[in-house]
């Protein structure tokens, strides 16, 4: 038994901090087979049970080990419509890889990279899963083209429903498009995986903002069922003094400018600008904070990550955190910003206070408490707030009849149905900020519920 993983080749740090190209270079076929061969093929594999979409990990890894890539692809696709994406962005260490039996004696199987290897291989070789869709007349609207919208649309379409997706932006994919940077998830991969929806016959209406330029009533009138997956696209701000200053961004703005609008190719190729100072503070320690910090670094800034708790409590994926630190992001724990100071309308410095960890709070994490008398000030010229997002009230304020839960998300029952019969909701629009794979899982659950709802009607 091989205890160590087949090493993943990566772009060298000194190169990658100057470009937005993907960091891991991906397995070759030989490397993938070698990595897959390490799998113990457990009698009772724990990995599958820890996957939000129940990917049959044992089976697809075995198929790779036996060099049956096409079979591996079909296995993956039965539970995950976007393996190239999920393999890149899932927090595997908390899921399949976290419980891998091999992890007790050595390194767990690199399930994520095997998954994206197969997804990429299938795309490169134009492999398509066999489809035999029996058409049904019922029409379903999916509001949002992010992860849960994708998985719900795919499953519903496979059941034969007529699916129309509404997307507010000029490109589909939701957070995959605007949120996750190129170096972590190349947009070519996103475009190719989304191309699958069109191949299936899902209609995607871009630039349609339900509640604004298409009314929710119109949708209810036209469709037999609706899946609301409008995400958690609205930024949260700390509400500290100075947030009106120039040089203060929400992580959302910073990432939308960078990922969707490609500000890193301004002005030669793209027209949307970005202003990044010499010394940047990113506030937060989730994946979004890591993404923003690594982008800031690539714009040439000395980049500090400020977090009020410690590394142990940081919600970011291990790989993102490691990559950020390798690249030179300065991680500073137990500090909390209290005031942004400006000069001539621009950020000049940040007031902070040191924190200590107190008793665990409801989330189980130890609560950070300000350490009296430890206030200090440092010069920064750009501040990026990455402290979370909330469901966009644009839709919620204009969609009559939906109930909002205490987290600002849409209230649903155990079948993801809202209080309006036939209207279901999932993804970040109900939970207010989770992972891509959880959203994929909810999209699939919603598709099952919608299928039950529509077939029960007949």
């Amino acid at each position: 038994m091989e205890k160590n993983r087949v090493p993943m080749r990566e772009q060298p740090v000194e190169d990658r901090i100057h470009n937005f190209d993907e960091v891991p270079l991906g397995f070759s076929a030989e490397e993938a087979v070698a990595e897959a061969k390490r799998c113990l093929q457990c009698a009772n594999p724990p990995c599958m049970g820890h996957c939000p979409v129940l990917v049959d990990v044992k089976k697809f890894v075995k198929e790779i080990a036996e060099h049956r890539f096409k079979d591996a692809y079909e296995t993956l696709k039965t539970s995950n419509p976007i393996p190239s994406i999920a393999g890149r962005v899932c927090p595997q260490e908390n899921q399949c890889e976290g419980v891998c039996t091999l992890g007790r004696v050595g390194e767990p199987i690199n399930i994520g990279k095997l998954e994206s290897f197969i997804g990429d291989w299938a795309m490169d070789n134009d492999i398509e899963e066999p489809l035999d869709i029996v058409e049904r007349p019922e029409k379903v609207a999916v509001i949002g083209s992010g992860p849960s919208g994708i998985s719900c649309s795919v499953d519903l379409r496979k059941h034969g429903y007529q699916v129309t997706v509404y997307e507010a932006l000029h490109k589909p994919g939701g957070v995959l498009q605007y949120g996750i940077p190129e170096f972590r998830l190349p947009k070519q991969i996103v475009d190719r995986e989304l191309g699958y929806l069109e191949k299936l016959g899902v209609a995607i209406n871009l630039n349609r903002i339900v509640g604004l330029n298409v009314s929710f009533e119109e949708i209810l009138d036209e469709f037999d069922a609706v899946f609301v997956c409008t995400g958690a696209g609205a930024p949260r701000f700390m509400r500290i003094p100075g947030e009106e200053l120039n040089g203060v961004y929400s992580a959302n703005e910073f990432l939308i400018r960078t990922n969707l609008m490609k500000a890193y190719m301004f002005p030669e190729e793209y027209d949307t600008p970005i202003v990044v100072g010499r010394r940047v503070a990113v506030i937060g320690a989730g994946n979004v904070a890591m993404d923003a910090a690594r982008c800031a670094l690539r714009y040439g800034a000395e980049t500090h990550l400020l977090y009020r708790r410690t590394r142990t409590e940081a919600p970011a994926r291990a790989e993102e955190f490691e990559h950020a630190v390798q690249e030179g992001v300065i991680f500073r724990e137990l500090v909390n910003p209290t005031k942004i100071r400006g000069r001539d309308g621009w950020v000049e410095s940040l007031d902070m206070v040191r924190m200590v960890l107190g008793e665990p709070d409801i989330s189980g994490r130890r609560r950070p408490i300000p350490f009296k008398g430890s206030e200090f000030r440092e010069k920064f010229d750009t501040i990026i707030e990455a402290i979370g997002t909330t469901p966009n009230r644009l839709f919620l304020e204009r969609a009559e009849g939906l109930e909002v839960n205490k987290w600002g998300g849409i209230q649903v029952d155990e079948n993801l149905q809202t209080r309006i019969p036939g209207v279901f909701a999932g993804g970040d629009s109900i939970s207010g900020g989770a992972t891509v794979i959880q959203a994929l899982g909810e999209g699939r659950t919603a598709a099952q519920s919608i299928h039950r709802y529509l077939s029960g009607k007949n």
Binding site: P267, T272, P273
Partner: protein, 278 residues
């Protein structure tokens, strides 16, 4: 294939021009107060634009030759198509009886809104619509005839006094507020003048609204770039505006935030002009 074909394009003066575009989905739904997001090409910015008219599946916009995109727009001819015209965005202004309404716009912007609001308000019984426009000089004046036709009273001022009254709309407004019973004042344009408009109306106890045109990216409430503080509470111009109670806006912050991308915008304009020459 794009649907957003340019059907008319003409100069309004040496700096401003009019563009009419086919955008049936937008034209059908747009109401006064709402705006659109224009993308000239796939790699372009998402630019919020005011709309003067929306009818017969087309919308009309007034554009000022300022930055790269507005200059680039000059290269588009009738028959060409834009990549996207997205909307309507933002909130519509409730068209109802207000009484004596004054609408002000100046050399910076706002004439499109001036027309759109007046046209709708003028049709409501009980409204007396007063429209005021300000331009630098006589040759710059546009939309006068159209605005006269949708208002009960109309004033034009020029900064140099070469046409209409000499001065800014604020001078006309000052007199109106002193001499008449005005119910509401609306305005769009130079932020410094809007601030003055807010101060004036506050002194007279007259309610006032100002259209803000903050920098936006998605314009759907996602990025927070267009945040403004209304009575100290953060609001987003894209989904809470673009019209706000002028007495509650912090105009100094509004002016400051409009300058955030001045430097790169200058760079882009320079590069574009050089490219066009070369």
């Amino acid at each position: 294939m794009s649907n957003f074909r340019i059907t008319e394009k003409s100069d309004l003066n040496s700096q401003d021009y009019l563009i009419e575009v086919e955008a049936p989905h937008v034209a059908e739904r747009l109401r006064p107060g709402q705006f659109v997001v224009l993308m000239t090409h796939e790699k372009g910015e998402r630019i919020p634009m005011s709309v003067q008219k929306a009818e017969d599946g087309r919308i009309t916009m007034f554009i000022k030759r300022l930055g790269k995109t507005s200059l680039e727009l000059d290269d588009y001819k009738v028959g060409d198509s834009f990549y996207q015209v997205i909307g309507p965005m933002g909130n519509a202004f409730p068209i109802q009886r207000y009484g004596k309404v004054v609408w002000c716009s100046d050399l910076v912007c706002g004439h499109a809104e001036n027309y759109a609001y007046c046209e709708a308000l003028h049709k409501i019984e009980g409204n007396h619509v007063i429209s005021i426009q300000t331009f630098p000089t006589k040759d710059d004046v546009y939309s006068e005839k159209e605005l006269r036709s949708v208002s009960d009273e109309y004033y034009v001022t020029t900064i140099d006094g070469s046409y209409g009254a000499k001065g800014h709309y604020i001078d006309v407004l000052r007199n109106l507020l002193r001499e008449r019973e005005i119910d509401i004042v609306l305005g769009c344009g130079d932020i410094k003048m809007l601030k003055e408009m807010a101060d004036l109306t506050r002194q007279h106890g007259v309610q006032a609204r100002s259209v803000l045109r903050q920098i936006m990216v998605d314009a759907t409430g996602m990025c927070g770039a267009c945040r403004v503080f209304i009575d100290g509470v953060m609001k987003l111009t894209c989904i809470d505006g673009p019209l706000f109670d002028a007495h509650k806006v912090n105009f100094d912050e509004v002016i400051n935030r409009l300058g955030m991308f001045k430097k790169p915008e200058g760079v882009a304009k320079e590069a574009y002009l050089q490219g066009r020459e070369g």
